[in-house]
Every structure is written in C-alpha cells, then in structure tokens.
C-alpha cells in the first residue's frame, strides 16, 4: 500500500516538473501576457490594458524601429517598462523636445536602443536615462487582448520621432 502511494506521488512530482519545464520554455521562448500600467504609452496602450508580447524577435535579434517592446528598467531590474523603439544602434535620434528652438541629435551606441513612450509629455524614457542595452529587452508587444473593443494589432507611432534613413524600406 505504501509503495503504491509512493509510486503515485513520484509520478505526480514527475508530471509537475515536466509541465513546469514546458511552461517555462513557453513563457521564455514563445510569449507571455503582460498587464500594462501607467500613462506613458497613451493613446496606443492605456492603463490596465492586457497585451501579448512575443519573445522570438528578441532572441533572434529582429526588433525593428517602431516596435513596442517590454524591457527591464535600467534602474530597477525587477520592474518592467513598456516603450516604443525609436532608434536602433547607429541610428540618429533627436534628444531635444519638439518645443525647443535648436534641435540636438545623438547617435545610438553599439548594442543599445533608444526607447520613448508615445505620450511624450508624461513618460520617463531614454530622453532622461539615455539609451539602454539591447539585452534588457524582454519581448515585442504584438497584440492587444483587453479591452475587447480595441483588440488587435497596435498602431504606428503617433509622435513622428522616428528619423527614417535612406536604408529603411517602405
């Protein structure tokens, strides 16, 4: 009797480990669901929206300009930030605000990306802490799941801060 209970317990533990590992692989390499909070990406993503972020683009280094990404905050690794990629390594980005008279530019260093929120007035992003290393990016937001009336893919950047170069394809 004791041997049967032990056998069943071991079987249960084995299955838990197996499904736990499969779940880890799914969340790490396929995608995860994220609840966004804060006003920095309005009107594209509003407070309490649920989005799906896929991980494959990040592992294959296929994040592009204009993508919305989830990244680890450079000042607190336990906190995640959701922003749009304005520039990849080597790109020129505008560091002055639209209201400034003289525009200043900088180039994104190697291995880094420049992130900005869509709600420029209410967003702490690369304009305050500078470009962040590419490896801090966790995933690319590809689909909005909640609220149901705005279900679907996300729109392009409303802020027109992305500087297109000649090598970009249309």
């Amino acid at each position: 009797m004791f041997r049967r209970v032990l056998g069943k317990t071991l079987g249960f533990v084995g299955y838990t480990i197996q499904y736990g590992c499969i779940a880890h692989c799914a969340f790490e390499y396929i995608g995860e669901f994220v609840v966004c909070s804060g006003p920095s990406m309005e009107p594209t993503i509003i407070n309490h929206d649920v989005v799906f972020s896929e991980r494959m683009s990040r592992h294959l280094c296929k994040i592009q300009k204009g993508d919305i990404v989830i990244a680890k905050s450079p000042y607190d690794p336990n906190m995640n930030i959701c922003k749009r990629v304005i520039g990849l390594e080597g790109d020129k980005v505008c560091t002055s605000s639209p209201s400034d008279l003289f525009k200043t530019h900088t180039y994104v260093p190697k291995g880094h990306v420049w992130l900005e929120g869509d709600n420029l007035r209410n967003s702490t992003d690369s304009r305050s802490y500078g470009p962040i290393p590419y490896a801090l990016i966790r995933g690319r937001v590809c689909l909005k799941l909640w609220p149901p009336h705005s279900f679907g893919t996300l729109s392009e950047s409303p802020t027109k801060r992305i500087i297109k170069t000649q090598s970009d394809s249309d």
Partner: protein, 195 residues
C-alpha cells in the same frame, strides 16, 4: 549548449526504453523517442536557464585568476543562475553578464562596486564615479587587457546572467570561487575622501 542538447536527446530514448512495456517493434521505439524528447528538451532548457550553466572562460581579462597559462588551456566554470534570480550580488563576486556592447556575447568579470558606491576608475572618462541605482561596476583582474566598466561605464543589474561558483576544468584547478576584492580596487569610503 549544442553539446548538452545532443546528450539530452541521446539519454531520452534510453530512459523511455526502460519505461516502455514492450521493446520489440521499431514503431514503439520511435514513439518512445519522441515522447522522451519532449521531456528531455524542456527540462534541460529550464535547468540551463534557471539553475546552472557551464561556460568556458576565454581571453586574458581575468588573469591570473582564470586562464593563468593563457594559450590553448581555457578554464571551464559552473555558473549558478539560481542565486542571481533576485539580482543579489556581493562585491568581489565573479559574475557573467550579457555584454552591453554585443547582446549575443557574455563576459565574465568581477563585481567591484554596487549601487551607491564611489569608485576611483582606471581609464574611464571621469576619474571618480558614483554607481547609479540599479547598476554595478565590474572589472577584469587583468587591468589594461579587459573590456569592462572602465570602458563602458556602470552596467545595469538587469544584464546579470549568473555567478561563477566553481572552476570545474581542468581537474587540477578544481576549486570553489569565493568572493574577494583585489587589493586597492574597491569602493571608496566617503570618510577617506574627506580626510
């Protein structure tokens, strides 16, 4: 990494064989192989991502601690990924991080300062640096031959990959790695600065 995956796919049919009731037809073998594969690969990937990782130290940036002879003999270390799941490190630990200059490369260096420490740098653009929140300062033991915080500045803790806990190859160099700061490389005491 590929070597470990190969080993995993080889032991999975063996373990499924032991579990299968009949060991005759070739189709039974194939089914056992596939089901064993779906167990072995996620478990191996999860162990490598969350618990422990094995890596070869290349280059001379951590001499004389790693690769003291240089040349063809590289040390192989065990990286503990579980101990850094909450991003807790101590000064003097040897850690592996994802390089801020190249996201596909990992570098192994020693932690010299944590957030809030004042560091006297060697060859950085500022002579004194206060490490910002959520960052740390890493250096290779072999100054001058090392791409570390003295070139690219403080590194975000989110790039932390693992903590080197043991040297496992060559067998003559088996040892546990204990955190220790090199002499004269450490955070400045603010009392010393004022004095």
């Amino acid at each position: 990494m590929v070597l470990i995956m190969l080993i995993a796919t080889l032991y999975s049919p063996l373990s499924s064989f032991l579990m299968a009731q009949q060991t005759t037809a070739g189709r039974r073998y194939l089914r056992a192989f596939v089901s064993g594969f779906f167990v072995a690969v996620p478990v191996t990937v999860t162990v490598l991502d969350r618990f422990a990782y094995v890596a070869r130290v290349e280059g001379a940036s951590m001499q004389p601690f790693f690769n003291p002879e240089g040349g063809l003999k590289s040390d192989i270390v065990l990286l503990n990924r579980w101990s850094v799941r909450n991003y807790q490190v101590q000064r003097g630990d040897i850690v592996s991080i994802v390089s801020p200059k190249n996201p596909q490369q990992k570098i192994i260096k020693r932690v010299i300062g944590l957030e809030g420490d004042f560091i006297r740098t060697l060859g950085y653009k500022n002579q004194y640096v206060r490490v910002p929140d959520g960052h740390f300062w890493i250096e290779g033991d072999h100054h001058g031959h090392s791409l570390d915080s003295n070139s690219f500045g403080p590194v975000s803790v989110g790039l932390l990959h693992g903590r080197a806990s043991h040297i496992i190859w060559p067998p003559s160099r088996w040892q546990q790695i204990k955190p220790s700061l090199p002499p004269n490389r450490g955070p400045l005491d603010t009392k010393e600065e004022e004095g």
